[in-house]
């Protein structure tokens, strides 16, 4: 039997709010992946960029899949690519772009792994147009110590496939993913930043928008400036003068994000930074042609927003509100933030289209993403926000909120009960465990 080669490591959520030490294995070959006892609780980990503790937990061994990062198969006729779970998005994009292909759904950081994207069913810059990551997954190979390797797709073991996309690793260790790539429409993206006066204006603009990229950013500090923002819309462009499609950046991890011992962001600095961003957008050219990599991974070249939250970390929450409820929800949000003097810094809106399944945040509506710095009011504000999520029948994003109570998730995630029943039927011993699965009562 291959030596399991374990060590103890400290794992921290990317928001910096939750941290623990547990056993850690970084398998780099199949025999190593299979070397643990069959009944040992474990959970897979990718790049470690989830805000919630979905890739680690107390008494659960972490199997870090970053060495399983090989390209396995490619069909140039159908643009179907099979890769191992530890392949990072930047690896796919830097390979695909010169071959005139791309992956349409990309979260904001390039070192996120494909396995992590499947597990959290992440979204990109325009989920209304492109759907979520699961919409581009054709097949998954899963390893479960008591079941071996299983290949699932919409045709083969569809229930397992549905649970695995957005299942936060609870169905097994994802080893391979087959992706549908898309033909690259153009070599660049022209992104426009238009000024907005309110969240409501953004929501209405998004509902009428047909751009290739569409999302808004807003000042969320309480006060008269609340809601002012920028609507980013992008279209494929044939030329990008002076914007070569390369990405040079220093990798950021949950550890390097938290290097500063204190948070720079507070009520004053957040307001100043937001005003500066609004001013910069007014001054800058209206139409900025940029390379695809830079447009796809904005946080790679600008890590300061996250780093300045320091060791104390941040709170982020995301929830999807139906188009019918969005105006009332945004009014309620404004009222709540202004009434409580909430430590909110920014809000972002995106339009979604899809059908909710497993634990994934999918469906049709408008996504509200909200970032807070941490102070004495943060936790009570987040609890008040939970009540709003319930009131507006919104759907939370489990990968973005490291403290969302299981009781709220149970009331708001339509697929959770079915997911739970199917999961227990599939895996009676519940071997794949994390802090998130424990918080949701899925142990």
């Amino acid at each position: 039997m291959t030596n399991a080669l374990l060590r103890q490591s400290r794992f921290t959520t990317f928001d910096g709010t939750l941290s623990l030490v547990t056993d850690h294995q970084r398998p780099d070959r199949y025999s190593h992946l299979e070397s643990l006892e069959d009944n040992r609780p474990r959970i897979a980990r990718g790049g470690g960029y989830a805000y919630s503790a979905s890739s680690f937990g107390a008494d659960s061994l972490v199997q870090e899949m970053t060495c399983f990062n090989r390209f396995l198969k490619f069909d140039p006729e159908t643009l179907v690519l099979t890769v191992e779970a530890g392949v990072r998005l930047i690896d796919i994009m830097t390979w695909a772009i010169p071959r005139h292909m791309h992956l349409p759904v990309l979260p904001g950081y390039p070192l996120v792994t494909v396995g992590g994207c499947v597990a959290a069913d992440v979204h990109g810059k325009n989920p209304f147009k492109d759907g979520t990551f699961a919409d581009w997954v054709k097949e998954i190979t899963l390893y479960h110590p008591q079941k071996g390797y299983q290949v699932c797709s919409a045709m083969k073991l569809p229930e397992l496939f549905g649970m695995t996309c957005g299942g936060f690793g609870m169905t097994g260790i994802i080893t391979e993913v087959t992706l549908q790539l898309a033909k690259l429409p153009a070599p660049a993206l022209a992104v426009t930043g238009a000024s907005l006066h309110s969240l409501q204006e953004a929501s209405r603009t998004l509902l009428a928008c047909e751009a290739d990229i569409a999302y808004s950013w807003h000042d969320a500090c309480p006060g008269p400036g609340f809601g002012k923002g920028i609507m980013y819309t992008g279209h494929w462009a044939q030329q990008h003068k002076g914007a070569a499609d390369s990405l040079s950046f220093k990798p950021m991890t949950s550890k390097s994000r938290a290097t500063l011992p204190f948070s720079v962001w507070n009520g004053i600095t957040a307001r100043l930074a937001n005003k500066a961003l609004l001013l910069q957008n007014d001054i800058a050219k209206a139409n900025r042609a940029t390379g695809i990599l830079k447009a796809s991974f904005p946080f790679a070249t600008n890590p300061y927003f996250h780093k300045l939250f320091g060791k104390r970390g941040l709170r982020e929450t995301q929830f999807l509100v139906s188009e019918a409820n969005i105006e009332r929800c945004l009014d309620g949000l404004k009222e709540l933030i202004n009434a409580t003097g909430a430590p909110t810094m920014m809000i972002s809106l995106k339009r979604f289209r899809g059908v909710q399944q497993s634990l994934s945040m999918t469906g049709t509506g408008i996504l509200v993403a909200l970032d807070c710095f941490r102070n004495a009011r943060t936790e009570s504000f987040m609890e008040a926000l939970d009540a709003q999520i319930l009131e507006f029948n919104a759907q939370p994003n489990l990968s973005k909120d490291s403290r969302l109570p299981g009781s709220i998730a149970r009331q708001t995630l339509p697929g959770l009960v079915e997911f739970e029943q199917t999961l227990y039927r599939y895996d009676k011993d519940r071997l794949m465990r994390s802090e998130l699965s424990e918080r949701l009562g899925l142990q």
Partner: protein, 238 residues
């Protein structure tokens, strides 16, 4: 040209295969688990468009079966180099190690690489090829841990010196800590080098002769350990 990489499934072996393939060389990947070498073979072909053949050989077996390598060589360009990053260690490796483990460590770290090398040496000489071996700073002096591993790697180092003396073009790298899975589970006192960085150096110097330390600062550590008086050295625990 074709390079044979023995122990190619992960760590330095994989990094070497990737570096040599990225320069357009054909590669024959040897490891004991075909699943790993098949995956790497596909990866290198997709990324670099080169011909790569996976071959399954367990260096612990005796005699070694060369049939798969021989067949692969028939289908490839002439053999230009043999790279031998294969190796194994064991948590129980200390004086008094049981016979099975002692035999295993000696075979994988010394005997099998030499047998394989002997087999393909005539072919390499015909093609003016190169042999590249890898040792360890553990060979500086014998110590409580890694007794059999260090002895086997020392023997391999001596064999490479003989190879060089006999006129074969060869290099031998004495490696410090590398960020591979062997080091992953250990609490090591010095920083670890990235395998791809080491592979890059090896590639650039692939036609040179001689013995080198990688990363270079390990030369000083190696020499200091060798020069320590016995009464001090025997009190060290590492």
């Amino acid at each position: 040209m074709t390079y044979l990489v023995v122990g190619a499934s992960s760590g330095l072996g994989r990094a070497l295969a990737e570096r040599f393939a990225s320069a357009g060389n054909e590669i024959i990947l040897v490891s004991r688990d075909r699943r790993d070498t098949e995956a790497l073979s596909a990866h290198l072909t997709i990324l670099h468009g080169v011909k790569v053949s996976p071959v399954t050989i367990d260096l612990a077996n005796r005699p070694l079966s060369y049939a798969e390598i021989d067949a692969a060589l028939q289908a490839h360009q002439p053999l230009k180099g043999v790279l031998l990053p294969a190796g194994a260690n064991d948590d129980d490796d200390a004086v008094g190690l049981n016979d099975d483990k002692l035999t295993y460590l000696t075979r994988v770290n010394y005997l099998a690489p030499c047998e394989l090398l002997n087999r393909y040496l005539p072919l390499l000489k015909d093609n003016d090829g190169v042999v590249i071996g890898f040792g360890s700073v553990a060979t500086a002096r014998g110590r409580t841990q890694n007794a059999a591993y260090a002895a086997a790697k020392s023997a391999l180092q001596a064999y490479f010196e003989s190879l060089a003396h006999s006129g074969t073009r060869c290099q031998f790298y004495i490696l410090g800590y590398l960020n591979t899975n062997l080091a992953f589970a250990q609490d090591l006192p010095f920083p670890m080098a990235a395998p791809d960085r080491i592979a890059n150096v090896v590639y650039k110097q692939r036609f040179a002769n001689g013995r080198r330390f990688l990363p270079r600062p390990w030369y000083m550590v190696y020499r200091i350990v060798q020069l320590l008086p016995w009464f001090i050295y025997k009190r060290l625990s590492f």
